[in-house]
């Protein structure tokens, strides 16, 4: 086992909550993107997006794993045997995949968020979290290179691709702000050094996003509102629909260990 930082019970609980939310975000985004597998516009992009989806699901497993070290929970149980009301995913990742512009821009915005959050998490006082973040951070480079290029292609491509990109950004902008809202318990985690520099996160993410969008002739308008506290336990229709599909096989045979 990786040397474990001693956490008091409250901090440990707050961290389990945050890890669950982060894992749920990665898992659901990975699932949404995997919906393109076999349906991509061309084979190369089908493969590329499937790779990105696999990475995000792998990162979900890492966050669930760090939680498991705290409370003994199991990643498969968390993914496949929780009800929608127990998930802590953000609306941003739950929204249906939409068209190609929506899918690519959402993944790009999420990549920008991770490009700022992962280096911060890699400095966490909680070693298992820092290790997992450092691991994910390296892999995210491949994501940003890919989705960043797509933002340019879409924004500077044709009138239609530009128009669809603007529509996609408009549709997800508010939800993007809510993705960055602090979670209940974050304050304690910041106090314990588990979440370093967390209050500077949204501004850094928006600056990164804005620069890339400007280079693609896309202007999202004002920064989205980041609420003072995230509300992650509202069950959206999209979450229920997504989990219904994702969990169907596991729930059909509760005894199964692998399938």
């Amino acid at each position: 086992m990786t040397p474990q930082t001693e956490l008091d019970a409250q901090v440990s609980q707050a961290l389990a909550y945050r890890l669950t939310a982060m894992g749920d975000d990665e898992l659901l985004l990975g699932h949404r993107n995997s919906e393109w597998t076999g349906h991509g516009p061309v084979l190369e992009e089908d493969i590329a997006l499937s790779n990105l989806a696999q990475d995000e699901i792998g990162h979900a497993v890492m966050w669930y794993g760090v939680r498991g070290e705290l409370d003994g929970s199991d990643a498969d149980d968390l993914a496949f045997r929780r009800d929608p009301a127990q998930f802590l995913s953000s609306t941003f990742v739950e929204l249906p995949r939409g068209d190609w512009a929506f899918t690519m821009l959402r993944q790009f915005l999420f990549d920008c968020y991770e490009a700022e959050s992962l280096p911060r998490l890699a400095r966490s006082a909680h070693r298992p979290l820092a290790d997992a973040a450092a691991k994910a951070q390296r892999e995210e480079l491949f994501h940003l290179r890919h989705t960043g290029l797509w933002v340019k292609r879409l924004g500077l491509g044709t009138d239609e691709s530009h128009h669809r990109s603007v529509a996609a950004l408009t549709a997800m902008w508010e939800a993007f702000g809510r993705l960055l809202a602090p979670l209940p318990g974050d304050e304690q985690l910041v106090g314990a050094g588990v979440l370093p520099d967390w209050s500077t996160l949204p501004a850094a993410v928006f600056a990164r996003v804005r620069a890339a969008l400007a280079a693609a002739d896309l202007d999202p308008g004002e920064d989205p509102v980041v609420p003072p506290l995230a509300q992650r336990n509202t069950v959206s229709e999209a979450r229920t629909e997504l989990l219904g599909t994702m969990q169907a096989v596991a729930r059909a045979d509760p005894e199964a260990v692998t399938w």
Partner: protein, 180 residues
Amino acid sequence: MIAHGRRNDPGTWSVGGTERLRDAAWRALTTVKDPEIPVIDVVELGIVRGIEVGSGPDGPYVEVTITPTFSACPALHEIERNVTVAIAALGVEPRVRTTLSPPWSTDDMTDEARTKLRQFGIAPPGRHDGLLEIALDAPVRCPRCDHPDTRVRNAFGSTLCREIRTCSACEETFERFKPL
């Protein structure tokens, strides 16, 4: 093979045998191949972070610490199973644990592994010493005709660790192990 002779006699390892057991364990691990690249073993791939030899309630044990290449690599589970089998064949208790720290890099791969990759038809990753983006965009030679003029066809490939390229000279399409 050493392993077979000692299978039923773990005690053989106990007195002054720690170093020999450790050596035998390293050798045993060279028989465990990467399921996705069967010409490379886990030691030259650089994912074995350490071997600890000790004595447990059931006799001597060997604990192997491995680290995943890409965190979502599905081959890790098979590698864990195969490491367990290879160590058990030494007649000792196998223990496998995984670590994420330090994160695996293609710089951990041996030169021999790179040569084998090329012979297998996969362009090996260049060493990057942390300058990942520079290594990613560096020229890549065709593993078949060695021509330096090759281009990316897809930054993603059949597994998380590979991209697809085409050689401008021989026009072969090949995979490249991406620097990480």
